[in-house]
């Protein structure tokens, strides 16, 4: 499945957002996810299906002023 992940083309084998995040070893990290420009709360990750063309942003906090 071709999706856009953090601005780059990505070939996803997972059908659910939860599974994708697990594959990426990000499930237990301090992250937030935007799914097609809408916030996807952590509680929704297990239900969020991934489809061809979806646009996913995964962010975290880094140093900044």
């Amino acid at each position: 499945m071709h999706i856009t992940l953090n601005g780059e083309p990505y070939d996803a084998s997972a059908n659910l957002l939860h599974d994708l995040l697990q594959q990426l070893e990000l499930l237990d990290k301090r992250i937030a996810v935007e799914f097609n420009e809408e916030i996807c709360p952590r509680s929704e990750w297990p239900n969020q299906a991934i489809q061809e063309g979806d646009i996913i942003e995964i962010v975290h906090a880094i140093g900044g002023g």
Binding site: L26, K29, R30, I31, E34, V59, G63, G65
Partner: protein, 260 residues
């Protein structure tokens, strides 16, 4: 001394120094410098995670814990209102519903000056969406008033361009903003050394937000401590009320009883 806290978005803080977490050598130095600064409000940036790269990399929020500090996510690097708003929404999700954000919408890479129309637009959207918005802006007193009218909880005019270390360039504008505002006014950006921070506080600012002045010092931890003292000294001088300036000398020792 009596406590002299300032309140932003309903929360009282004892430290009037707010610090950023960018440009440090590593996370360890970040943690030590921020502890030395005594800051209670600490800014962070929100960025894409590196996909497939070292998932065990230490996380900033493990060093600067939200249990210990008030985390102030910023919208640094956003050059339009929609991106800034999305960044704040992601930050709120990341920090478990936390509503306090530092809004900055930049207009130009060279100066990093705020894009004021876009800042006003983003501020309006964010306030309506329930955010507590501390807003980085130009030192224009009329724009400061507009941002306060929109409902921003703190106005943060620049002293000089971000990361320039030039100190307060437009003192009378900052003074005008301080005197007119009914919300806290913090100088954000452009402070270079301790005296710059002290001057801002002597002028009556409620606080100062800085990053590069500490992180880019030769000894960041020592500068963090210097800034802590400068903020306290400047605040106390403001509260004490400085003596009037006079053109000619006025002897400190009495004239009476001189031997000749």
């Amino acid at each position: 001394m009596q406590t002299d806290s300032f309140t932003v978005a309903g929360q009282a803080y004892n430290s009037r120094l707010l610090v950023g977490t960018g440009k440090y050598k590593d996370l360890e130095e970040t943690g030590v410098a921020i502890a030395a600064s005594g800051a209670e409000i600490v800014t962070v940036a929100i960025r894409r995670t590196n996909i497939g790269q070292n998932p065990d990399e230490p996380n900033l929020l493990d060093v600067i814990s939200p249990d210990e500090y008030t985390i102030l996510p910023n919208t640094a690097g956003c050059f339009d209102a929609p991106t800034a708003v999305r960044t704040c929404q992601l930050a709120r999700e990341l920090l478990g519903g936390h509503k306090l954000v530092k809004l900055e919408v930049l207009g130009d890479q060279k100066t990093l000056y705020p894009d004021v129309p876009a800042t006003l637009e983003a501020a309006e959207t964010l306030v309506k969406d329930g955010f507590d918005v501390m807003v980085y802006t130009s030192d224009d007193p009329l724009i400061a008033r507009r941002l306060e009218d929109i409902g921003c909880c703190a106005i943060m005019p620049l002293a000089a361009p971000i990361g320039s270390g030039l100190g307060i360039q437009n003192k009378y504008n900052i003074l005008e903003i301080v005197e007119s505002a009914n919300v806290p006014v913090l100088v954000d950006a452009g402070v270079g050394t301790a005296s710059d921070a002290a001057i801002a506080m002597e002028m009556g600012c409620d606080g100062v937000l800085m990053n590069t002045a500490i992180a880019a010092a030769q000894k960041p931890v020592l500068m963090a401590e210097a800034m802590k003292h400068a903020i306290i000294a400047g605040r106390q001088a403001y509260l004490a009320g400085r003596m009037p300036r006079k053109r000619y000398a006025s002897a400190s020792s009495p004239i009476d009883g001189l031997i000749a």
